[in-house]
Symmetry: D3
Subunit: 277 residues, 6 copies
């Protein structure tokens, strides 16, 4: 695994599940009409410009259907690809290649779609902030989508509920920020504590409580600039809530360190990639 790829065990499981889903119980009844001895050289070709992600998912899809199918890549995860590029060559039995095609393309298209949309947000910040994902991922694909975000140039927020403390309004009700952060430090020392803030006053409380990050929820760029002015370098400032490709630059220029965008995982259209024989 390199740092823009998901762990191999996660890829194997997702592909096995996807193939079972597509081939149960009779297999590919159309490909079954084809001669077994017909070999093919096929090419993976984007129909749109974008950022590649999910190469090993495609490898795994072809290999799980037929260990004799070979894939040779001309691009890496994280690399920008253009319409018409031959990004990979697939060699193997015609029927095996066609049977695995849709599973490979579904994963490649979805993950490249995530990477591509992430890259657009990253670009839109002009290097003045980092784009983070959220836990708003597709159930069963978190590991792969978070890797695709990294391939797109984004960074990962919490992997899940177990790897960081994020105190939202519902957690704070009744105890207040100071007490909540104190409890978090006590119970989970050595872990990042982030506090969701709706107002500058809450940002001040989070600062006083020595949180590690504040998550400014649904604030305007101007409010974000105020918050950044208040906290300085004492903690990281993250912006969240309805940030769009149009508004992201303003938030970045307002001084946010991190901007988290649910849409890059939950609403990314696929990158259309085809298999040409």
């Amino acid at each position: 695994m390199n740092d823009v790829e998901a762990p191999l065990h996660a890829i194997r499981e997702v592909v096995a599940r996807a193939l079972a889903e597509d081939l149960t119980p009779l297999g590919d009844i159309t490909a079954a009409l084809l001669p077994l001895d017909s070999d093919v050289i096929a090419r993976l070709v984007p129909r749109q410009d974008g950022v590649l992600a999910g190469r090993r998912c495609a490898d795994e899809s072809f290999a799980q259907v037929d260990t004799d199918t070979k894939v040779s890549w001309a691009a890496d995860d994280g690399q920008e690809v253009s319409t018409g590029d031959v990004i990979a060559t697939v060699t193997g039995r015609l029927s095996s290649v066609l049977t695995a095609e849709r599973t490979a393309l579904n994963l490649l298209g979805h993950l490249s779609g995530v990477a591509t949309l992430t890259r657009r947000y990253v670009r839109a910040t002009h290097g003045q902030a980092r784009i983070r994902d959220t836990r708003k991922t597709t159930p069963g694909l978190r590991s792969l989508e978070k890797a695709a975000v990294r391939a797109g140039g984004g960074v990962n927020h919490r992997g899940n509920l177990s790897d960081g403390i994020l105190l939202k309004d519902n957690h704070l009700a009744g105890i207040g920020i100071g007490e909540a952060v104190r409890r978090a430090r006590l119970r989970w020392p050595g872990r990042t504590v982030e506090v969701e803030c709706d107002t500058i006053d809450q940002v001040r409380q989070a600062l006083d409580a020595a949180a590690d990050l504040v998550l400014l929820d649904n604030m305007s760029p101007a409010e974000v600039a105020d918050a950044v002015g208040l906290v300085g370098k004492a903690l990281l400032v993250e912006v969240s809530g309805g940030v769009t490709l149009d508004s992201v630059r303003a938030y970045a220029e307002a001084g946010a360190d991190l901007i988290s965008v649910g849409a890059i995982t939950h609403s990314a259209p696929i990158l259309d990639i085809g298999l040409d024989l």
Copy 2:
């Protein structure tokens, strides 16, 4: 299961996987800071207008985290919901509700997103054609997404490679439509045979071969109208390939019986639904 819901076993598996993904290994370390005896009444409220799908996924998410959490619905899968509607009430322990929230919302948002986009396509046909999905679904979620398409008013194409014959150009190369259909009838009698056609001549061959459907790939509405004129009621005419919300009506008016749209599953943005305490 009613006819717009996925089978229960599929829902149970997807939810179990999603919760494991979100709670491994330490559980919800933020909710762990909350008192156990704090109960809550929460409401599921759409932030956008759309079509609801995935109710039982939400039920299952809350129940798998804590069997004492109860969900009471004010809307059904397939029903149109509006911004601000209270579509469900969730009653239970505060920490249990917060722990399950994201998994429930990820599924509800994604599936309602699929249903909502499907409904938009269905509306755009003005009842002159049926909208079908494709196999371009999210790996691991096919069963749920295909149910969401039905909730949106669409109909399902093949469930997978095993439940229908679809002869594409790559299958036809070297043998021709007539021979391919003949083989399919011989090998898989009693099953639907659909033939992908790029030209009117191929449509004629499919008609001669007595296929059940033709899939007109990337044709213009005018070409579709020609094909419809040719085949009459002898077989079903399906249109596919890059159909958009703008172009779908023209294809419907050209006489297509079915219009298949990959985007309703592979590129549907979520329907934003929130949990309010």
Copy 3:
């Protein structure tokens, strides 16, 4: 996968489950008494004449126990084999071969048993009808048994409840054939609709409703001939219900296109195949 083999993922899963079943928790405690450095060449030999099916299941059984075991086949799935033929040669460590033996033979014997009984029915029709399987398969083995039916020369009915509509008496009660077929066409356009008929009058209704197939349940050959006379080539006629090796020819001669036989999967005795060292 060729067209008489199950998809590889299904074979892998069944074999893994079978080996876990046979080797948990201590492994093969008898083979553990053998020296590790003892190699063997073994032969798979039928003790009865029959039709081979399940070769890749045997391959997978030996390989999952020990990747160094090699199997070389002298016969293909679907081929007739005779008592005493050497159908395969297995080379590897003695203890590994003995540990995998029973799992390999259980699968090979069961699936070849299905193929063999299927072939007997196929033969008995003298080419005048096709033999189809049913959903009366062994739980957990549907994919493999349906492939064995194909190896035997039969064809597959529905893979499962999700890939075709079969309206039985219990579905028709209260709505009637015409309305039921109409609903099916509306809800599931482009899919095969088959109607179970107990009487000629029902066949007429199915014909009027333009169903794709009728399933004549428990009719005599004479009644089947009447039905065939009625429908002509307008739809496929399938016979079902208690057809035996004795009666199958009469049904075939009565003009049925398809004859479905539950016994070929639910009551096929094994084909006895042994491993000789």
Copy 4:
């Protein structure tokens, strides 16, 4: 679990797998045409006389599809049932009952078939020997089939390769019975050691080696009587290899303690049980 039932975890897993197999990915598309509010009282009725087994598999099948379906039994596993008996009443939604029907009946029919054939062998011994199963079970169903054998009045041989030592000719080659038993006692003290014997001389060696059982393979009843005469009560005598319903009594009368029959699991036809509405 009583002593003729499989452990509950095994039943749950088999049923879950069978339902997934039958309902993936679209569910029961025929039952989806039925009204949801239609309730039904159905009856499980054998079409043949036989021995019931697998009741909890049927319970589990109906419950996993719809927790509201209730099954009430009038017979127990192991009990003889007659054609036309109402052995159980199933109450629930029509569509849920029909969706679960085939899975429930496949399991009930297969396991009752195993129990029924076992009972026939048991009867044929006239109480002079016990009928044992083998490891020749259907992959994935060992636990259930072994329980069905007990329901039929038989007893279980090894559960798997890990729970008893059975020295066959291939294990004995090169070391001899005495040495093999000695090694087995040393490596696995406190476990049963059974020795497969093809000749009286081997029986004598097994006796000298103080094995716990001898497995007389493919001997005639007369040879078995000789072996029994030789060993007396010193160890248990088991007969195996091609025993049929015709020959089993002769083996029992020859004095065998145990007669193992692969056919009761690998070649038992189903007991035909139907669901009547």
Copy 5:
């Protein structure tokens, strides 16, 4: 889940696996000899003083074997229990209780053993430092063991390799602490960065690099005191490496914030708990 319990999905999976392990394929063949109608009231009683952990594992073990078995607790996870205390009462069928007993006790004993040893370390620090676990947990039980550590009064280090950065000597070779921390901040902003240090000079580098924690590996208490003096409150100081019950107090008094001890998970003897009828 409260904050000393593992997430329910993890408990369910571990128990299901453990029961399958203990009951495959024939179930509890000894309990099968017991009458089914014999009920029992049993008591869980520690044979040693210690700290309870894993109550829900016991609940789940009894329930998965027989949903009618009820467990009523007189103690909570995290509570100290004494030899002879009745910590729970189990009511149900005798055979069901005996079948589940070992699985319940194995989990309860192991997890209470972890909690008990953790509590001893916690006590030994006299409140001057926190005891942390490591990733040296038993494969398959991490989630449960980490909860048991919390029940014992300890706190959790990383849940796994994915939820925090810990730069060890092997990661630092060739790049140095400053550069490694810089890369970590860039790649994974908002996450805790801990640096393993073998020397005071490395501690200084980690301080300069603004790491969040230093992990002092195999230092003496005096060296730890030096390091603490150096860093003050600028970052958290964790001690690791061969800390024993004898030495832990000295490290705590040297000013370490956290002391991580692998032995509490990898070498904790069980707490002996019995089931008395």
Copy 6:
């Protein structure tokens, strides 16, 4: 598999689960900072003297993370290893080796710990009795721990509840030893029957009932000697209950054939093995 190794399928499953546990969802975020092209030769080196077990678990851990990592062993399972020995050499990408390190070491350390403690007990008997394990194993690891016991020179008791009859006081209550053994012989002929005895009188009853073994529970060595004197060679005598390294020799000298020790699996500290680069 040799006779001191667990079956391969069990090892594969445990390792896959352990890696998923350690790498979900983001993989190894620290190793992700390392260059991908950096190769390494690492050595597995014990920090303590002990007995090696679990080699194939380590192989599998490295291979599942990266198929290019190679492990070459200088010691076998069951062999004694000394502090500082290079027992294996691991060659591969630096990041892959570090990612797999902890999983490999956790399994190797735990299983070698079991083997090492077993060996100490074996040694302490001076060859006068055999050490047996119990069902007090770590949930999910039974197959591996029982193999480690064999590597340590011990022998295995029951693999699980399904492979032998052990009548304990709770089973005997109300029916008595004679009747219980009779039932066991009837229900499960050809299986080992062991009777737990608390008194000499019960031993006499077990002897009269012709049990295969007696399990002397919590008796003193003198009482054991009495029991051994009573039974002679008629059945095997096993001692159980609180046997320690101090007391085991006395039990062995008292004439017990088998001494079962729960501590070798439930309370074995790990053997500390490190990975040196």
